[in-house]
Symmetry: C2
Subunit: 369 residues, 2 copies
């Protein structure tokens, strides 16, 4: 074969092999508008030869020339957060039809890596950037670096629309309310709450939702039963926090029949902590989480949770990104968009009616069987 030193078959190789010019071959193989003018016989010849030689277009040359990389940078702040995977799937699904490829990177919760990868992604001329902010992170110069480069950005998991960035996230307020309402409807009155760490932007709205639902159910939350996770280092550390706070809860000696945990891992920590002290879930105490990640699903008892429509959120981000690219600069300064996905209550086995009520139920059932 006539392959150049690169080891790859090029247009020139194909052209020589079938006796046409590089242009013709390019036009045929890339199905450019001009290819209508190419004789059917020629087209056939070119295509056959390309296949025979095993020609694959070189994405670099193509991108260089056509200034489009067909690539979207996807930067996950911490890919080990189970939150991320369904989001990524959504993004991939949204990108695939347009033959765009995500350049997916895990910043491993490290600022330094994050910055460095942003740079590498820009060098690769990703046409847009999607950031999955699954975990605490401060984005000070992210903004600066990117606005400069006219790259459309979408952030998933935080509301930065105020600061000019398209944002996709779950409606945390609604989710918090959903969790609380579930418990009050089951009849719980003394409910402990574990709020998220201060640095996490989800914490506040979830807490607001919880309070709203408590008020509308006519329930007073005892401030002594409201806890807060400390600033955390990685997504799994909510688990440790949950264990510790469960113990504090018990030590406080204030009675409670249910716990609203900040997220699923925290809920799993609470289950661990309470179980260790002989409290049975859900018989003695109900626990509800937030997110809907795998570990909560396969634990026993399975954790009742507020599910985020993660895949949908990823697809939404991908869709916006594709739209922004289609506009190519025009309208880049539109007002940033905000999409709040609606969470969904998933009732599983970690919640049931509170103990007193269960006793009542039992008596009632005993009376009229």
């Amino acid at each position: 074969m006539t392959q150049g030193k690169s080891g790859h078959v090029t247009l020139l190789d194909v052209a020589r092999a079938c006796g046409f010019s590089v242009s013709t071959v390019s036009i045929v193989l890339s199905e450019a508008p001009l290819s209508q003018n190419v004789a059917a016989k020629t087209r056939e010849q070119v295509r056959t030869m390309a296949r025979k030689l095993g020609y694959h277009p070189d994405a670099f040359a193509r991108s260089l020339r056509s200034r489009s990389s067909q690539t979207i940078g996807v930067l996950a702040f911490d890919l080990s957060d189970p939150f991320c995977i369904p989001v990524v799937r959504g993004i991939q699904a949204g990108l695939y039809p347009a033959r765009y490829l995500p350049l997916l990177i895990d910043a491993q919760t490290q600022r330094r890596l994050f910055d460095s990868y942003v740079k590498m992604i820009l060098e690769r001329r990703a046409e847009s950037l999607i950031v999955i902010a699954s975990w605490v992170f401060d984005e000070a110069n992210l903004l600066a670096d990117l606005k400069k480069n006219h790259v459309p950005i979408v952030i998933i998991g935080r509301d930065l629309s105020e600061r000019g960035i398209n944002s996709v996230l779950v409606d945390n307020e609604a989710g918090g309310a959903l969790a609380m309402r579930h418990l009050t409807e089951l009849g719980h009155k003394r409910i402990a709450v574990i709020r998220g760490p201060e640095e996490m932007f989800d914490s506040e709205p979830r807490w607001a939702g919880i309070q709203r639902a408590a008020v509308s159910a006519g329930i007073k939350l005892n401030p002594k039963l409201v806890f807060q996770l400390p600033g955390l280092v990685d997504p799994a550390s909510g688990f440790e926090g949950g264990i510790r706070l469960a113990k504090e809860m018990l030590a406080s000696e204030r009675p409670f029949t249910a716990v609203v945990a900040f997220d699923d891992l925290t809920a799993l920590g609470v289950v661990r902590g309470l179980t260790g002290a002989g409290v049975r879930i859900p018989d003695h105490c109900a626990v509800v989480g937030f997110d809907g990640v795998l570990p909560a699903e396969v634990a026993t008892p399975a954790i009742t949770t507020i599910r985020q429509p993660l895949k949908e959120m990823g697809m939404q981000a991908a869709e916006w990104v594709m739209q922004a690219i289609a506009k190519r600069g025009r309208g880049i300064d539109e007002a940033p968009r905000l999409y709040k996905a609606q969470p969904e209550l998933v009732v599983r086995d970690s919640t049931s009616v509170p103990p007193q009520r269960r006793r009542l139920d039992r008596e009632r059932n005993g009376r009229e069987p």
Copy 2:
């Protein structure tokens, strides 16, 4: 600014701005060998100007010219398998020092997607490909397509060294033995086993290890207590299988005090199934898993498991890949390598001594306190 229509700052822009030629600027900024010959003052000027204009080299042009993409394709067969993330981290860690970027793609357990992504990765001229075969998959034409393109390949999670492909995987035989030995050392005699699905290549060696350890402990495995997962569609379906088989175990009415599950999710399924029937873990029955993934760690009781050194495996793959690239073709036809990582027993709360023995222990303790 003098930016061209691309919106990006190019070498030419920098060159014009500081009055040197493109060559000089390139030499300085890419720190080519020749840059030693460039006057210190010039170097300084160029660098300052580049920073001022916000120059980022264009990876396409660079790759096109230097025929190296600084990219490694990483194709996960199913990224939702918790197995993958630590592996990916290892790969990223191994690649980072060389400033290589993984092009990470999730094939979502779909052959069609897999093939299509392989193609896209090749078009992007990834210099090598790492496949994470976390889950059942058949690689018939994978081989064909890639051997043709002279791209070095490493597969993680399967032994394809016989078929000419560098392979990194855990020593499944040793792992199986480790699991079984743990149980026999605790004093278990009647042990149920759930083997992996036939299509999974891990299944056989794990089973072999289990048998070996049983023999050397002088224990006979009751064939009626050996079960097998059906062919599965996704990694989480081991969980469902575990539930079902746990019920079959109980239905068989053959006594057992421990279960070796194929993997962690299966183990979690077994816990669910047994717990549902009133069997307490680990008091009535011990359960041991395999993999060491997050869900097994945060469940209550935490699952005793055989941990795969996933990060290490990812780094090993990255290292091989970098070596292969350093050789650039020379030695591409070396014998394929095989690395079997040593698994590690992680004792947690799902295993303890069998019930009979516990009774004995208690009596003995009672006798001499």
